[in-house]
Amino acid sequence: MMMQRTTLLLPMAIEATMLAQQQRGMATLKTISMRLKSVKNIQKITQSMKMVSAAKYARAERDLKAARPYGIGAQQFFEKTEIVPDEKAEPKKLFIAVTSDRGLCGAVHTGVARLIRGEMATEHANTKIFCVGDKSRAILARLYGKNILMVANEIGRLPPTFLDASKIAHEVLNTGYEYTEGKIVYNKFRSVVSYQCSTLPIYGGPTVEKSEKLATYDSLDSDVIKSYLEFSLASLIFYTMKEGACSEQSSRMTAMDNASKNAGEMIDKLTLTFNRTRQAVITRELIEIISGAAALT
């Protein structure tokens, strides 16, 4: 959207400056005032976007606080059983990139995509990516378009719900790609000004069944393990989506705050140039009048 607008505006701007050079004084004033107006409008937009994301952030943080024990609980089993992927079998990896459809929020999405790109650079033949949110697809499609398994979009307009997460988990399991191990890549929220790109491990059913520590667990059959893993995948995706949404809103808030500040600086500079040019025009007109009058007498 932004790109389109700049390419559209560029020839117009060049034309305007050419016109300005022809007519001098007055027209330059006009272009400056036009720019001033547009920058002011942009500042208004960024300011209101900041307000909106501040409100959304407050809600996302509240939701995250409630979801954190849930997410930590869902991770416990994987941490305590210390599952190691079977080295003999061919590894089939899966990355779930948790981003959203919306941009203008700093490096939130690029961070996730960069981590995956780094891992893919070493080994990408047996690796697939599941993109949650259009942004990760846009970044990863150029290099690893063939590895993208599926894309879930319409993420980020509304706060993520468990239903969204279970739909995604359902699709992950229904694609027919039987991953042995994988990672959920997401942004872990720390504070309003900081988040960290992190990963959570996920494992396929056979990998879990072969785990040594699983012997200590009582009365398990593969059905129970399968249902358990399906549910825990949905829980983990739900939790990471909550973390991601909170990081995104906080990051957008900072990004928009900075944009408003930059626009403010630009407005100050432009106002100064505008006033100076206006003064120059007045002075020149005065000189023209005076010297004209002096020539007559």
């Binding site: 954190r68 849930y70 305590k80 468990f162 200590t216 129970v224 249902s227 549910f231 829980s235």
Partner: protein
């Protein structure tokens, strides 16, 4: 001399062992749902959960296990004997070696918050949906909804 020393050492070690075992006698429960967190690593006495392999109670030092929750009532007994009942729709139970228990539900509510009349309405709605369902998938979905609604009514009563 060395024998006495050894004995003393052993006694100290025994005491320490007993202490550490006393510590793991506590059961730490994390009971959370997507909509709300009820217990976050809180120490409780007993938990009764409904699972697909049958309902069972969990006390401290329960053998590690995994289970899948069935729609029904989870009952938590606090250390001071107070019992609280929660309705859960589905989810998972994890009992770990260190006596920590995670009950994760898709959705959970305090049983006292359930409106019986509304639950009955839901049940009849889904029952009619089940009878009018066309294909197998819709039928299965309606059957699950009926199962949840039945458990809901039962819990509310």
């Amino acid at each position: 001399m060395s024998f006495v020393k050894n004995a003393r050492f052993l006694a100290a070690r025994g005491a320490r062992l007993a202490q550490s075992r006393a510590y793991s006698d506590e059961m730490k429960l994390t009971f959370a749902a997507a909509n709300q967190t009820f217990y976050d690593a809180a120490v409780v006495r007993q938990i009764d959960v409904p699972s697909f392999s049958g309902a069972f109670g969990i006390l401290a030092k329960h053998v590690p296990t995994l289970a899948v929750l069935k729609p029904g009532v989870v009952q938590v007994v606090d250390n001071d004997g107070k019992t609280t009942k929660y309705f859960v729709s589905s989810g998972s139970v994890t009992v770990n070696e260190d006596s920590s228990v995670q009950v994760l539900a898709e959705e959970a509510h305090n049983v006292a918050d359930i409106d019986v009349a509304e639950a009955r309405q839901l049940l009849s709605k889904y029952q009619s949906q089940l009878s009018s369902a066309g294909d197998d998938k819709a039928k299965a979905e309606a059957a699950i909804a009926v199962e949840v609604a039945e458990a809901l009514v039962k819990a509310a009563e």
